[in-house]
Symmetry: none
Amino acid sequence: MTQATSAKVTKLNRVERNAWTKQKIFEAATKVVGKYGYAEASVARITEAAGVAQGTFYNHFENRQELLDQLLPKIGLDMVHFIRARTGTASAARQEIERFGAFFDFIREVPEFLRILNEAEFFAPAGYQKHLDNISSAYVRILRRARTAGAIKDFSDEEFEAIVHVLMGARSYLSRRYSYSKDGVTAVPEHVISAYRKLLTRGLFNEGSPHER
Amino acid sequence: MTQATSAKVTKLNRVERNAWTKQKIFEAATKVVGKYGYAEASVARITEAAGVAQGTFYNHFENRQELLDQLLPKIGLDMVHFIRARTGTASAARQEIERFGAFFDFIREVPEFLRILNEAEFFAPAGYQKHLDNISSAYVRILRRARTAGAIKDFSDEEFEAIVHVLMGARSYLSRRYSYSKDGVTAVPEHVISAYRKLLTRGLFNEGSPHER
Amino acid sequence: MTQATSAKVTKLNRVERNAWTKQKIFEAATKVVGKYGYAEASVARITEAAGVAQGTFYNHFENRQELLDQLLPKIGLDMVHFIRARTGTASAARQEIERFGAFFDFIREVPEFLRILNEAEFFAPAGYQKHLDNISSAYVRILRRARTAGAIKDFSDEEFEAIVHVLMGARSYLSRRYSYSKDGVTAVPEHVISAYRKLLTRGLFNEGSPHER
Amino acid sequence: MTQATSAKVTKLNRVERNAWTKQKIFEAATKVVGKYGYAEASVARITEAAGVAQGTFYNHFENRQELLDQLLPKIGLDMVHFIRARTGTASAARQEIERFGAFFDFIREVPEFLRILNEAEFFAPAGYQKHLDNISSAYVRILRRARTAGAIKDFSDEEFEAIVHVLMGARSYLSRRYSYSKDGVTAVPEHVISAYRKLLTRGLFNEGSPHER
DNA sequence: TATGAATGAGGCTTCATTCAT
DNA sequence: GATGAATGAAGCCTCATTCAT
């Protein structure tokens, strides 16, 4: 998904070679951080995984932190695209459930994402903030639109922001609890989806109580 | 707050002296991690803050990690007690709102807690897991009781566990967003409370839509 | 001052282009070393200042040291010419004072010189030795001529060489003490000149004690 | 002269062991800098010469530079004591000649000194400045006293400072020219002494021309 | 039990030089 | 000849842990 760099290393000109090396480092960093976490992602480990010399690293990044801070925003975008592609045109509530499910699908497609996301707050604060702002503002927009369409009542803009943080926190904690496993990332159980659906459908959207579901 | 160890250092027997030293290290670690985070909490820094030699540390803890892993569960208990003491006998829904508010009160009383909690996942995974299990199981019990009392319908035990993770995630993300500030921990805005109340009252509990609040 | 290379870059043939590039590197090195010192004069910095690629450097110089060793002798020649032009036809003693003053004038005209000279001993020893030999031998010749003319008595050739080193050391230490300032090179105070004049006029030349000055 | 640490390593208490280690590092640094210069005096080289681990270095010095900056002032004091001990009670002029000779004797006793002194300006500027101030102020005091005693006329305090720099520069340049040799530091030739004596006796002091020496 | 100096592995970064284009 | 990415050695420093006193 994320990259398609594995192609044959045919003839590349200077510029392409340059970009290709940077890309290799990037991918190596994604793998290393995904597997060992930021703290263990030393430049030595990353460059070794990328198959380049340690010095090469500094031809492409100012320093270690700069790379780490770029990791999350980049993959975060991939996530946004992924989720958007999986969101249909059903009711606002149902769309939110789709997004929720798509999130868990995404972390299975890009298993490194979870760790890169979760640890970023402490090891790549700049990148984390950027990502959070990205997601948060897009999410608030979605909720507003739903309100305009009459699918949500009774929530102010400020309350939306709080709700968005609840939803992001939910994804984070649920994914930690239900997606990790010894070897890889697993699908999320059905009852997690249903719990989320009930809470949101009744608590946020206008569908609801009596004839719910 | 957490402990009251500052008493006069009168005559102490050997066992007491021992416990007292360990306690000093513990408190120093709490302060240091709360202020600088786990990553910056070197043994040197902690022992200096505790006023003991570096070597002394290893008379009381197997290694650095062991101490770090004990930090969160211990303060976590303080939190549980604090919140329990602030929870009244109103309706289940109202009690949940009280707990929510009490959480934010607690992190203002023990400002180190937020950092110790948030970073623990990555720097003290064992301690983090223990804390999460503590909280999660207690929380599920509360919800079950509410269901028995008829305040909640239509959620299975498994769904409760998911809901609990949503609620914990919510606290985590909301506290990061609204409680941190340049100098210390601030109160959470009213609209955060109200958003949480609406979501939970309507989405989880049987109170609700028409005559809400 | 040193060179006048800024002319229009009109059509140049191969040889000229070649010389022109080398010249650019040379001037860049002078500026960089003058401003940051030899230690900070990395090939990267020099080539960047020269507006050429790093690899280009090695088409014109065997290695970094070779360039550094050429720096001082080259500017040293400029200095010799400058001082010679400022030396009149007065008495030998007065000529020496003129040279002394001209030295301080020169380091104001070419502010890079001081640093290039002073640091050269350790960062460009070959170049330094060459410069010292240049100056020293020329200086000894001057003193000999003065002795022949009767302006100096009682000093052997070997003693002249020692005296010349005293004079060079004097310039070096005095310039360090009195010419440097936060922003740039400043004029030397009058009392420095007068002290030098007294010492030399009485101590080296036959003018002298009673009716001196 | 400088140190007498080679004694038997009998029983030492903690404090003594500590000081002894620091002393070992100090001596190793002196040797290394004296032999290879500051630039080549890496922490690795110094600690190896001292027979301790690299990490030990940082138990005794904040960083590499701190040690380097202490080198010159410390040995500089040794020099001052050495020279003072060799200065008799003869006339002011003769005392100065004694000091001059004693300087060259000292650099033969402590061959590392020359390099430590000369390079300090660029590699240990703080230490260099300190040393220069030490020497310079002591020297000016000596000249003033001579003036008070009538041995010098016609020089102002400001001029004294300039003269002192001339004398320090003289020692520096003369030692470089005449004391270095492939293997070690050699005695300074007699004609250097005599040239210095003539210049100073006639140029600075009141003895002089006719019945000089 | 308390002390604190010693250890040494390992991390980040710089930089002169090489070399394929 | 010009380019500039790649190389890898080497440097400084941190820090958890050990151990003799």
